[in-house]
């Protein structure tokens, strides 16, 4: 703390009556001898006056209570999705799932099976013997993984837009 701020600290505590008798007497003695300290104290008092004067209670609009009372009768929105939007998304997820299942069953992806080979030899390791990396790729697996992910998204949507609001309403009706 700078000497000036150290004095500000002591002067604030003097104003708030937080100094003991000996400390207060010493600060008052210093105050009598220093015009600069007196000016510092008057500045602190001015700040106090400003804060007290400016921080007044303010009142909201006249229809505030009515608006709150109207607001409490509206159902609580438990998710960011509106039920309409949620149902539309759920419908979209179901259509995509059905297309994926139909494609799988019709054998559309059966022919999409091949190994993917990574040959680094020709790129960077011309003087070294590097084995070729080969990974099996299956279109059926890929579509199956997509299908599972789609079902998870569908379940989350079902929960947020239908199940959760339904059980919340039921719980509120019981109380």
């Amino acid at each position: 703390m700078t000497p000036r701020n150290d004095w500000n600290d002591r002067l604030i505590r003097l104003m708030d009556g937080e100094l003991n008798e000996a400390e207060a007497a010493q600060v008052e003695r210093e105050l009598r001898q220093s015009a600069e300290l007196q000016q510092q104290l008057s500045q602190l008092k001015e700040i106090d006056r400003f804060l007290q004067r400016q921080n007044k209670m303010v009142h909201p609009s006249k229809n505030f209570t009515d608006q709150v009372m109207n607001g409490i009768t509206l159902p609580v929105r438990s998710s960011a999705l509106s039920p309409k939007m949620g149902l539309m998304l759920l419908f979209g997820v179901l259509v995509i799932t059905m297309i994926a299942v139909f494609s799988l069953r019709s054998g559309l992806f059966d022919s999409m099976e091949m190994p993917i080979e990574f040959n680094f030899q020709s790129l960077y390791f011309q003087k070294l013997s590097v084995p070729t990396l080969s990974l099996p790729f299956s279109g059926k697996w890929l579509v199956s993984a997509f299908l599972i992910l789609n079902l998870v998204v569908g379940f989350v949507l079902l929960d947020r837009t239908i199940l959760k609001p339904y059980f919340q309403r039921r719980a509120e009706a019981v109380h």
Binding site: R4, N5, N8, D9, I12, Q40, Q43, L44, E46, I47, D48, F50, L51, Q52, R53, Q54, N55, K56, M57, V58, H59, P60, S61, F64, T65, Q67, V68, M69, G71, I72, T73, V76, H175
Partner: protein, 192 residues
């Protein structure tokens, strides 16, 4: 600092809460009427924008209504409500930071400023400038503390911080204000 008494007693608060929980929703209007100015003032201190503060204050009352069953009655309803208000206003402020500030809606620090404009001297203008240099939590601590309606304990409770922390924040903010004011006054003298 002398603090005025709350508008309704603790017993009245609890009686009203019992009625609301028993299904007499209209009893909540009495609680709203009793605390709307306090709640609005807190929201305005945080948001510094009247329409946004009004919306946040309404949200706070609506939230409090929906969570009324969870209010454990260890503290006063008002203290619990102020905490909800503070959190709602802080969340609104974070959301609103993404948007551009509207010049027409932005109030300059204090609601009473307009009526006091004529009698406000230059020094008070400089103190208002110095206030802007404080960090957000220090500024809110000092503004809420100087509202005579709230005790130090209530300010601490609503800001979710220990009483001593708020006391230190207020003290530090006063020192910082004095320091900033000195700097501003010096620069004004140089500019003259």
């Amino acid at each position: 600092m002398l603090r005025p008494r709350a508008v309704i007693t603790k017993e009245e608060e609890f009686a009203l809460i019992d009625r609301v929980l028993a299904g007499q929703t209209e009893a909540y209007a009495r609680l709203v009427d009793s605390y709307k100015s306090y709640v609005f003032t807190i929201a305005l201190k945080v948001l510094e924008n009247r329409p946004e503060a009004e919306e946040a204050a309404q949200d706070a009352f609506i939230r409090a209504f929906h969570y009324l069953k969870k209010f454990n009655r260890e503290a006063r309803f008002s203290t619990w409500l102020y905490r909800i208000t503070f959190n709602t206003a802080i969340s609104a402020k974070r959301k609103n930071k993404m948007r551009l500030d509207s010049i027409e809606n932005k109030i300059i620090l204090h609601e009473g400023a307009a009526e006091d404009a004529l009698e406000r001297n230059d020094k008070h203008e400089f103190i208002a400038q110095a206030m802007e240099k404080l960090n957000e939590m220090d500024k809110l601590s000092i503004q809420l503390y100087y509202l005579q309606e709230f005790s130090l304990e209530e300010v601490a409770e609503m800001m979710g911080q220990p009483t001593n922390t708020i006391k230190v924040r207020v003290h530090r903010a006063r020192i910082r204000l004095a320091e900033e004011l000195t700097k501003i006054l010096k620069s004004e003298v140089v500019n003259l």
